[in-house]
Symmetry: C2
Subunit: 246 residues, 2 copies
DNA sequence: GGACGTTTGTGAATGACTGCACAATCTGTT
DNA sequence: AACAGATTGTGCAGTCATTCACAAACGTCC
């Protein structure tokens, strides 16, 4: 951060140079990052169908987004399309995969093997997307020692060992809400910098650590709000004309 | 859509009147709706601690958001705070609950009882948040007839009966990707208008049906992107000065 | 009962995201 | 080699979301 650029952009400021600065240094917008995996999934399906080229319109439809948005999203990665033709499925798949980091085969550890944690440990989708479950942690004596897909569950006290041995920087927390923050603190201390949190609580972590939260109850409540509104709207005009002013 | 408004907004456009029109007719912004359950969860925890009043600052911290944002969010529901004091925990809890529809005790059916579906069926968090699992559906002969918390799993062929009998309008899809769209189509046909989709595929549904998607693989990929970037940034200047132009 | 410290509710400023519309660029055809 | 049809990449305007900053309103203490 002390200096700006080794070589200042040459006078011929090609547009292609400009975004690369933005995308590489400043990063891709969050909203776009959240959609890249969707595109990737769609491309994988297309690849299996031996389709080798696809237009932004068709891919956008498969992903459920506007085609202009898709093109703009992809433009953050680079100019990987061909005008008049479309995108090469395999090549684009490779590029998005590279941006998202699917090339890496990330080691992941799961803490908390209740119903949900166990389901996650069994979830095969991880492997096909560049992730490998390398550690399972729980406190319950009934669970510790059990094996899931050949991997034994370790006691929470061995967390340090497991993280150090596997070198995992991504962890999934599926513990009860009460335990989640303490687990997160220890994970962060051990060098974990990305956490996927299924516990219904807000995790407080230092800057530089990424947390994503998945809360089933909350997802349903959001749906319930919309349901609520659907029925409310029917009696809307009525309610409005009565004593809303009070 | 044929006409605009029964009565045009009167000349005395009190600010207090204005938002109510917005909030009641046009609805609460999506971003706010997504946060309401977070506030609710925080309030519930506070309620158990016998805290009866809380300021926007404190609640915002517990929810992990900016305090101004919290106040604005709450202002969409109404003026439920007291200046100089804060918000009454119980009352606010009630009001948010009402807005989100937690008062209703919504019946929910779950389709697909693999690892994840079973975990969801066992998840007790539903009940405490105003939801009740009233139907379980799968195709596997090994699963049909089994009971989870006393509720028997029905065959997919009985979907019509189950939905009709329970009157559920909210459904959870936890089937394999291939089956998800067909299931969604049938659910929508039967009158389900809100779907929580765990299958890794984009569902196409008619207008008026709400879908929320939770995809574990995608959540991890988003985390992986940020991890990728953390390490990339270190070798950034290096890579930039070498052959990035090629 | 008036002054003071506190906290809400919200206008206005800023920032992020989306979608339109079109020039630039490609392939294939005559 | 020029034209026609198709599709990308992107400037721009509009929409939505976040944050700031402050007046209005409350409780309390003298």
């Amino acid at each position: 951060m002390s200096h700006t650029f080794p070589t200042d952009p040459p006078s011929r400021t090609a547009a292609g140079q400009h975004w690369r600065t933005v995308a590489t240094l400043k990063g891709i917008p969050d909203a776009t990052v959240a959609r890249l995996p969707v595109y990737l999934r769609a491309l994988n399906q297309l690849g299996e169908q031996r389709i080798d080229t696809i237009s932004s319109g068709a891919l956008a439809e498969a992903a459920g987004v506007n085609s202009a948005q898709l093109r703009k999203d992809l433009s953050y990665l680079g100019s990987y399309g061909t005008r008049g033709v479309g995108y090469d499925v395999q090549y684009l798949r490779l590029q998005i995969g590279r941006a998202v980091g699917s090339a890496h085969d990330w080691p992941v550890i799961i803490v908390g093997l209740g119903n949900l944690g166990t389901a996650l440990a069994n979830y095969s989708g991880f492997y096909s997307h560049g992730f490998r479950v390398v550690g399972l942690i729980d406190t319950s004596p009934e669970l510790v020692g059990k094996r899931i897909h050949g991997l034994a569950i370790s006691d929470l006290s061995e967390l340090e060992d497991v993280v150090a041995r596997t070198g995992a920087v991504i962890a999934v927390i599926a513990t009860p809400a009460e335990a989640a923050q303490a687990v997160a603190d220890r994970l962060v201390y051990l060098g974990v910098t990305s956490i996927l949190n299924f516990a219904p609580t807000v995790l407080v972590v230092p800057d530089g650590v990424n947390v994503r939260k998945v809360d089933l109850g909350q997802e349903l409540q959001i749906l319930a709000y919309h349901e609520q509104r659907k029925t409310d709207d029917s009696s809307q005009v009525l309610a409005e004309s009565r004593g809303t002013s009070s």
